[in-house]
C-alpha cells in the first residue's frame, strides 16, 4: 500500500505539472494581454498605441520567452511565492485567499446538502418503492437534473424580491465574522448549486437500495421482523457507498463549473467569478494560480476516492495499478 501511495502521489504530481504547462500556454494563446485588457474597460475605453502596449508588456515581463516566464513562475511557486496580480500588483495568494474561502464554503455546504439529502431521499424512496412518495422523489430528481441552475437561481432572486421584498444582503461577510449573515448569503446558493448532484445521488442511492432490499436474504429477514431499522439502514448504506462515492467525486469537480454562474447570480465573491474576471483581464498569475488550486483539488479528490474504494473493499484494486500482470 505504501508503495502504491507513493507511486500515485508521484503520478499526481506529474498530472499537476501537465496542467500547469497546458494552462500557461493556453492563457498566452488568448488574444490580447493585461495591458490591452486594462485599457478596454467598457463602455468608454481609452485605447493605447502599439508602442505603449509594447512598453507595458515589457514592464510586466511579458516580452520574454515563454520558457523563461514559465521557469520563473515555477521557481517562484516552489519557493511558495504565488506571484503578483497584473491588475492590482498585490500578492496573488492574499488576493485569492478570501475568494477561495467563499467558494470552499459554498461547495462544502452544497456537498453536505447533497450527501445528507441524497442518502436520505434515496433510501426512503427505495424502502417505499412504488408509493406516492417514491414517485415524488423520482420526479424531483429527474426534474432537478434537467433545470439550468442559473435560470432557476435568477428567477428565485427576482421572485423573492418582487413577492416578498427580500434581497440577500450584498456585502459579503465571512462565517467567522457574522455567521447569521453568512448563512443568509450561502444557504440558498448552496441549495441551488446542490440540485443537480443531489438528483444524481438520490437516483444512485435509490437504485442500489432497491437492489439490496430485493435480495432474498433481506426480504426474508424483513418478513420475520428480524431487522431493526438501523441495521437495515447500515446494510443499505454499505452497499451504496461505492457507487455514491463515484457520483460525488465526479460532481465535486463539476460543482466548480456551477459555482461560476451561481456566484454571479448571488453576488458571491468566490473564485469562479475571480477566474472568469482574471481571464477577461488576462491576469495570468491569477489564472495560473487558480487553475493550479482547482487541479490540486481534483487530483486529491480522485486519489482520496481511489484509496477509499480500497479501504471499503480491499478486493478492488486501486485503478492505476489495476493491470499489474
Amino acid at each position: 500500500m505504501n508503495n502504491y501511495l507513493f507511486k500515485r502521489l508521484a503520478l499526481s504530481a506529474l498530472t499537476l505539472w501537465l496542467v500547469t504547462v497546458v494552462v500557461f500556454v493556453l492563457v498566452r494563446v488568448l488574444p490580447g494581454d493585461a495591458i490591452v485588457a486594462a485599457s478596454a474597460q467598457s463602455p468608454g475605453e481609452s485605447s493605447l498605441t502599439r508602442a505603449e502596449i509594447e512598453a507595458g508588456r515589457a514592464a510586466l515581463g511579458l516580452d520574454r520567452g515563454i520558457v523563461v516566464q514559465y521557469g520563473e513562475w515555477l521557481g517562484d511557486l516552489i519557493s511558495l511565492n504565488s506571484g503578483e496580480s497584473f491588475v492590482t500588483g498585490k500578492s496573488v495568494w492574499s488576493e485569492m485567499r478570501p475568494r477561495l474561502s467563499v467558494t470552499l464554503e459554498l461547495t462544502l455546504v452544497a456537498l453536505i446538502i447533497v450527501t445528507v439529502g441524497g442518502t436520505t431521499l434515496g433510501i426512503l424512496s427505495a424502502s417505499a418503492e412504488g408509493s406516492r412518495f417514491d414517485v415524488a422523489v423520482r420526479s424531483f430528481s429527474l426534474l432537478a437534473a434537467s433545470v439550468p441552475q442559473f435560470w432557476i437561481a435568477l428567477f428565485l432572486v427576482i421572485i423573492m424580491a418582487s413577492w416578498w421584498g427580500y434581497f440577500i444582503p450584498v456585502e459579503y461577510s465571512h462565517v467567522w465574522d457574522d455567521p447569521a449573515r453568512n448563512a443568509q448569503q450561502i444557504l440558498i446558493p448552496a441549495v441551488i448549486l446542490a440540485l443537480r448532484p443531489l438528483a444524481l445521488l438520490t437516483r444512485v442511492m435509490r437504485a442500489s437500495s432497491v437492489e439490496v432490499l430485493s435480495t432474498d436474504y433481506i426480504r426474508a429477514a424483513r418478513a420475520r421482523g428480524l431487522l431493526t431499522r438501523t441495521v437495515l439502514f447500515r446494510h443499505v448504506l454499505n452497499n451504496a457507498l461505492i457507487p455514491s462515492l463515484t457520483v460525488l467525486a465526479a460532481q465535486v469537480v463539476f460543482l466548480l463549473g456551477g459555482a461560476v454562474v451561481i456566484e454571479s447570480v448571488f453576488n458571491l465573491p468566490g473564485v469562479g467569478r475571480a477566474l472568469v474576471q482574471a481571464i477577461s483581464f488576462r491576469d495570468y498569475p491569477i489564472i495560473q494560480f487558480l487553475t493550479l488550486v482547482i487541479a490540486l483539488g481534483a487530483v486529491f479528490i480522485n486519489l482520496g476516492v481511489d484509496i477509499l474504494y480500497w479501504a471499503i473493499d480491499p478486493r478492488i484494486k486501486p485503478t492505476s495499478t489495476a493491470r499489474g500482470s
Binding site: 492563457v27 426534474l143 489564472i287
Partner: protein, 277 residues
Amino acid sequence: MTIDAILSLPRRRRIGVAGLVMIALMVAIAALAPFGLASPLEQDLENRFINASFDHPFGTDQFGRDQLSRVVHASRQSLIVASLVALISGLGGGVLGIVSGYAGGRFDLLVQRAVDAVFALPLVVLALVAVTTYPNSRLAIVIVLSIGFAPIIVRVTRASVLSVRTAPFVEASQAMGAGGLQIIVRHIVPNVIGPWLIVAGTQVGVSILAESSLSFLGFGAPIADPSLGSLLGGEAQTFLHRAPWLIIWPGLAITLLVLSINLLFEGFATGARAERR
C-alpha cells in the same frame, strides 16, 4: 446482456417511452422549424415586446423578433451541439476506454494520467480560451465540451472492460487463439455497450446544460445562430422585469429537452437494473 435486450429496455418502461416520445416530438418540431415559422432574425420594430398573442404565442423581443421561432431554432442549435458532443466524446472516450482497459500496462497508465489531467483542468478555462480564440465557431464549443466530458466516459467504459476482461469466456476465447481485435469486437464491446450508452446518452443533456451555462457567461454559440443558452445570456437579461417571457421560454425549453433525454436514459438504466435482479 445482448445489445437487443439493452435497446428494448426503455420500450418496456413507461418512463423510457415517455422520454422517447418527447424527444421525437421535439426533434420533429426542431427539424420542421424552417417550414411555417417566421424567421428568427426578422426584425419588426413596430411589434417590440409583445407578450403572448395569436401571432406570437411566445411573444416578441426587443427587435420584434418572434420568440417562438427563436426558441425553436435555438433548440435545434442546442441539440446539434449537444448531440455532436455526445457523439464525439462518446465514441472517442469509448474507444479510448476499451483499448486502455484491454491493453493495460503502460498505455493504460498514460491514458489514465491524461484523463486525470483533463479532469483536473477547469472546463470554464478551456471554454473561455476556445471561444475567445475562435469566435463565432460552434465547432470550438463542441470540441471543448467533448474534451471535457470524455474522461467520465473513458472511466466508465474502462471499468466495465476490466470487469469482463478476466471473465471465463474471454479467457477461453483467448486460449483458443482469438486475436485482440476479435475479442474486443466479439466479447468486450457487447458487454460494455450498455453502461456506455447510458453514460454517453446522459451527456447529451449535460452538454445542453453546460453549453447554456457558458452562453450565460457570454461564451456561447454564434449570435446569428443563437442556442437556447445564448437566448438566456443575451440582452434579455437586461430587461427581465419588462419582458420575463424572453427568459422563461428558453429556460423551459432547455428543461424539457434535458428532461426528455434523462427520461429516456432513466428508462435504460432502470430497465438494466430490473434485468439484473
